[in-house]
Each structure stands twice: as structure tokens, then as C-alpha cells.
């Protein structure tokens, strides 16, 4: 269990580094109009914030602190997508639609209780397939939620669906207090949809071509409208497929915003011939990091964008960016004996996060003000990569990182804009040169990489590639450190001591999250 992010490590650091309690910050954590520029209460209805603040998939801030768990009780699907192959099942792969074990509702409840005992960060239980949560009459999905509501009432429930069977299930979704629903919407034009969906099964019939895409589109829009009319938060997932729907996603963003969607998550296509998907086999490529960012940036101002999605498996367990599913296989859970329900540890953890958040808004604002004062408001932002294992801190060794979080930092603040998955560079004490090349390609558009610690060898390679390794902010908060780095970087840029990395691109790698730490 060497890859576990322990609660102690996060809590311990929090106590060590949290701002002094005497800091006069309002209990709401929001004392200035610009606080929480990305997720906080300033640009959000307080009732909505209350719903999302502990949900790692719905709040960028929450994803640093809270864990989710998907239970794979819904293997059946009612449509075929060209990016999905339901025959493939591998524990070393991370993408939606893939699981290692399918569960009955009873097994799922037992697994949830076992995980809840072990992981106090757990706040959300989702059903995301591996098929469609509402296909096959949605029997397993609702049976699981019905029991869970009684057994563990403090956990939030959410589901994701392609939307085809959504309208007929909205009443039941509301009835079981499922207040987060994700719909995958890749198009609002059936002419584009026919290149993504070869067929659907609807009203006892298999539909193909334009008819299939048209029915799916109409059901998705109707289901979205019905959910938002009931006050249920809806996130839209879109898979960006270069040459098929890339620029069209701006229209999707407008259409879902008009119907009340809360969040829009544009994800890169995962496409590999080895997965056996239609797109994988026909050579359809996924987007590069900058292609994805250009489309995401173009959608800013419309439906709010989510950029921290890890495209996790339908049986993922843990913080986003990690998967502890291997610790909770059916065999291991059966060996555990009696499993009780105790929310005390989760409540303690949630209280800790609340307290930490209260101090953060003030320190972020102070760091931003300092940048604006010294650098000016017009300086161009830069991208930086961060090695973290949670808690919004720079607390991961460069060689141990399985992903880097990417922040765009400039005079208007530090904004999380994505993550880049990498192979762990350091295995058992020594680094691997090929792996290092992969890391360099993944963060090639960044000016610096902020880490807790880094060895001499990778430092030299990074410097040679024009990416500055920075370990002087070890264990500090990410955003404040990013702003401090930006201030220093802007000063050196001004006197020609460093070169700008504007115009560089990076590679999106869509491999496993399950690689074990040595």
C-alpha cells in the first residue's frame, strides 16, 4: 500500500502549514468580491456551492481534498460509441467503460462501506457504468442507491449516462435524492453525431445512421431540461474528436448552457489500436494538449468549464488522479467480515477542510495583489507543472509523480487548467531515461515544474529542455507558490535571464493510473 495518500500526511501538513488561526477571515471564507475566482462563492449561488464543495468531480477546489468511488453495477449499455469497446477489460487501463469486476447491488453496498471505513476523504458515490447507468431498466443503479441512502446517508450520490433513457428516469433520480447527473453529449447536430454513434437501441429497435443520432440528441436535450427544471445539477461530458466535433463543441457548450447545465467537461479522445475501438482501429487521433486547451479556452464565458477530469474507470476508488481499486477487490472485501458504518472520521476530515479553506482565500488574494503591484496587470501568463498528491500542496517528489497538474499563472491569479499523466520516472531509486523523455513531452509547454524534491540528473535534463525545476516551494500551497514563482519569472524575463515558452505544445498521454509506486 505504498501508493496511499494517508489522511495523516494531509492533516499533519495542514496543521503545520495552515495560516495562523488569528487571521481575521469571515467564517464563509469569502471577504472580498473577487474571492474564489474559479469555484468559490463569489461567482456561485451559495446553495449550489453547498452541493458541490465536497464533490471532487464538480468542484476543482474539492478535487484536491475529496475522494470519489464508482461502483460498477451497470454493465449493460443501450448505444454503441465509436470510442468505446465493451469487450476490453484490463486493470492496467484507465478510461471510462472499463472495469475489472462487475458488482451486484449487494456487493456494491458492502464495498462502499469498506472503502468509507478506510478513506475518510470519501464524499461521493457514483454509478458510471461500465455500460450506461440507466440502460436495462436501470434496475441495479436504483437498487444500489436505494440501499445506500439508508446505510450511509452522509455520502452524496451521482450517476452518469449517455442520456438516451434519461427522460423516463428523471422522476426516480429526483426521488432518490441524486443531485448530480452527468450526461455525455458529443454533438448537438445529428449530422455530426452519425460519425460518433453507429447505433442505438431505443423503443425495442436498433436504429442506425442519422435516425440514431437524431433520437439520441432529442433525448439528451429533453433529459437535460427536465433535470435542470428540478434543480438537479447537471455536468456535461464531451469527448473532443479532432476533425469530427472539435470546433462543434462551442455549439454544444452554448446549447447546454442555454438549458441550464452547471458544468461542461471537454475531454480528449482516448484512442489506441490496442483498445479495439472503432476510432482506435481506424487511426482517429486524439487532440494535443494545446488543441484541447484552445477549444476549452474558446468555450470560456459559456457554460462553466471543468478541466480537472481524469477520465477514470467505472470502478475507480480514491482521489482523482489515483485509483485504489486494487485494495478493495471482492475477495478482499469478503475476507473483511462485519463492516459497520461510522461517519466520524469523514466528518472530522470535512471540518478540517472547511477550516483550511477559510484561510486560503485571504492568502491567495494577497499573493495576487503582490504580483499585480510588482509585475503589473498586463504581463502574459505562463504555464507551470506541479507535482502534488493532494491537499492543494506541492508535496510530491518529481520522480514519484504519476501526473502533473498544470496551472496557468499570471496577474489575474493561478488557474488550474489540466493535468498530464506520465509514467513514474523513479522506480526503486533509479531513473529511467525513456520515461524522462515522456515526462518532458508531457510538460513541454510549461516554464517550470514545482516539486517537493528532485534529483540532480532529471534537473539537468529539464534545464536543458528549457523547463525550470523548482523545489524551493516544497510542501507549500500550490496557488500562492505559483504566483510567487511567476513574480520571480517575470522579473528574470524582463532582464532577459529566461526565455518565454509561449507557442510550445505538449503530448496528452492516456495510460493507466494504476501503476504501483516502487
Amino acid at each position: 500500500m505504498g501508493n496511499v495518500i494517508s489522511l495523516d500526511s494531509i492533516l499533519g501538513l495542514g496543521e503545520l502549514k495552515a495560516p495562523a488561526e488569528s487571521t481575521p477571515v469571515a467564517a464563509s471564507g469569502c471577504s472580498s468580491s473577487s474571492c474564489g475566482s474559479s469555484d468559490g462563492p463569489a461567482d456561485m449561488d451559495p446553495a449550489v456551492w453547498e452541493k458541490v464543495k465536497n464533490h471532487p468531480c464538480y468542484s476543482e477546489e474539492a478535487h484536491h481534498y475529496f475522494a470519489r468511488m464508482h461502483v460498477a453495477v451497470a454493465p449493460a449499455c443501450n448505444i454503441q460509441c465509436n470510442y468505446c469497446n465493451r469487450k476490453y477489460d484490463c486493470s492496467n487501463e484507465s478510461r471510462p467503460g472499463v472495469v475489472s469486476e462487475k458488482l451486484t447491488p449487494d456487493q456494491a453496498i458492502r464495498k462502499i462501506l469498506a472503502v468509507a471505513q478506510e478513506i475518510p476523504q470519501l464524499s461521493v458515490i457514483g454509478i458510471a457504468g461500465p455500460g450506461d447507468s440507466l440502460a436495462a431498466g436501470a434496475r441495479n443503479t436504483f437498487a444500489t442507491f436505494e440501499h445506500l441512502q439508508k446505510k450511509a446517508p452522509d455520502l452524496k450520490l451521482c450517476l452518469s449516462t449517455n442520456g438516451l433513457a434519461l427522460p423516463e428516469n428523471v422522476e426516480r433520480i429526483a426521488q432518490y435524492n441524486i443531485d448530480h447527473v452527468t450526461i455525455t453529449i458529443n454533438m448537438v447536430d445529428p449530422e455530426i453525431g452519425r460519425h460518433i454513434y453507429p447505433w442505438i437501441f431505443y423503443k425495442h429497435k436498433r436504429w442506425t445512421g442519422l435516425d440514431a443520432a437524431k433520437i439520441l440528441h432529442e433525448q439528451q436535450m429533453l433529459g437535460l431540461e427536465m433535470l435542470t427544471a428540478r434543480g438537479i445539477l447537471v455536468k456535461i461530458n464531451s469527448v473532443m474528436i479532432p476533425g469530427v466535433n472539435d470546433t462543434h463543441l462551442l455549439d454544444v457548450n452554448k446549447a447546454v448552457k442555454a438549458r441550464g447545465a452547471f458544468l461542461h467537461n471537454i475531454m480528449p479522445l482516448i484512442s489506441d489500436p490496442a483498445h479495439g475501438t472503432h476510432f482506435g482501429l481506424t487511426g482517429q487521433r486524439g487532440p494535443t494538449a494545446q488543441e484541447l486547451k484552445v477549444v476549452q479556452d474558446a468555450c470560456e464565458g459559456g457554460a462553466k468549464l471543468m478541466r480537472h477530469c481524469r477520465q477514470c474507470r467505472a470502478d475507480a476508488v480514491g482521489l482523482l488522479g489515483e485509483d485504489r481499486g486494487e485494495e478493495f477487490t471482492t475477495d478482499k472485501i469478503e475476507a473483511m467480515g462485519e463492516i459497520g458504518y461510522d461517519e466520524e472520521a469523514r466528518r472530522t476530515y470535512r471540518d478540517h477542510v472547511e477550516a483550511e479553506r477559510a484561510g486560503r482565500h485571504a492568502s491567495k488574494e494577497a499573493a495576487k495583489a503582490e504580483v499585480q503591484e510588482t509585475v503589473g496587470a498586463e504581463a502574459a501568463p505562463i504555464l507551470i507543472a506541479v507535482a502534488t498528491k493532494g491537499g492543494e500542496r506541492i508535496n510530491e517528489h518529481f520522480g514519484h509523480a504519476k501526473e502533473f497538474q498544470i496551472y496557468e499563472v499570471g496577474p489575474s491569479g493561478a488557474k488550474f487548467v489540466g493535468h498530464r499523466r506520465v509514467d513514474q520516472y523513479c522506480e526503486g531509486g533509479s531513473g529511467d531515461a525513456d520515461t524522462l523523455d515522456g515526462v518532458l513531452a508531457a510538460i513541454n509547454d510549461c516554464a517550470a515544474v514545482l516539486v517537493a524534491k528532485i534529483g540532480g540528473c532529471p534537473s539537468k535534463s529539464l534545464e536543458a529542455a528549457g523547463i525550470e525545476p523548482v523545489d524551493r516551494f516544497a510542501f507549500e500551497y500550490i496557488e500562492e507558490s505559483a504566483l510567487a514563482y511567476f513574480k520571480d519569472h517575470a522579473e528574470r524575463l524582463g532582464r532577459g535571464a529566461v526565455q518565454s515558452r509561449a507557442g510550445q505544445d505538449a503530448v496528452i498521454r492516456t495510460g493507466a493510473l494504476t501503476a504501483r509506486r516502487a
Binding site: 449493460a76 449499455c77 443501450n78 469487450k87 455500460g131 440502460a135 436495462a136 434496475r139 425495442h204 429497435k205
Partner: protein, 63 residues
């Protein structure tokens, strides 16, 4: 006349079981099977056999 499931290609998703109008499909020993005495190939009930129409692996075929 009846359909069968090619178990080697079956993903065990259970979509067919939910759609069968004759309750002819059940889960036995790790795989789904069609009871040929109950299967009507959906004749007179639907335009096409429901199991074959919904199957993601196209493994429901005439026996």
C-alpha cells in the same frame, strides 16, 4: 426456432436479459443462456429479436 448466445464472445453485460419479452434469458454459471423452449425469436412481438438488437458484441444468433 430459437436464438443462442455465443458465450466466448459474450461480455456478460446482461442487456439481453432485460430486453427479452419471454424471460427466456438467465444467468447461469458465469454466463447468460437462452432457454430454447421459451425463446420465440420475438416473432409476433417485435420487428427483430430483442437480444440480438441490443447486444453490444453481436453474439445473440439463431441456434
Amino acid at each position: 426456432m430459437a436464438y443462442k448466445i455465443k458465450s466466448a464472445e459474450c461480455t456478460v453485460c446482461g442487456a439481453c436479459e432485460a430486453e427479452c419479452p419471454n424471460i427466456a434469458i438467465s444467468f447461469k454459471k458465469g454466463t447468460y443462456i437462452i432457454d430454447p423452449t421459451k425463446c420465440s425469436e420475438c416473432e409476433g412481438q417485435f420487428d427483430s429479436p430483442q437480444c440480438a438488437s441490443v447486444c453490444p458484441a453481436d453474439c445473440c444468433v439463431p441456434a
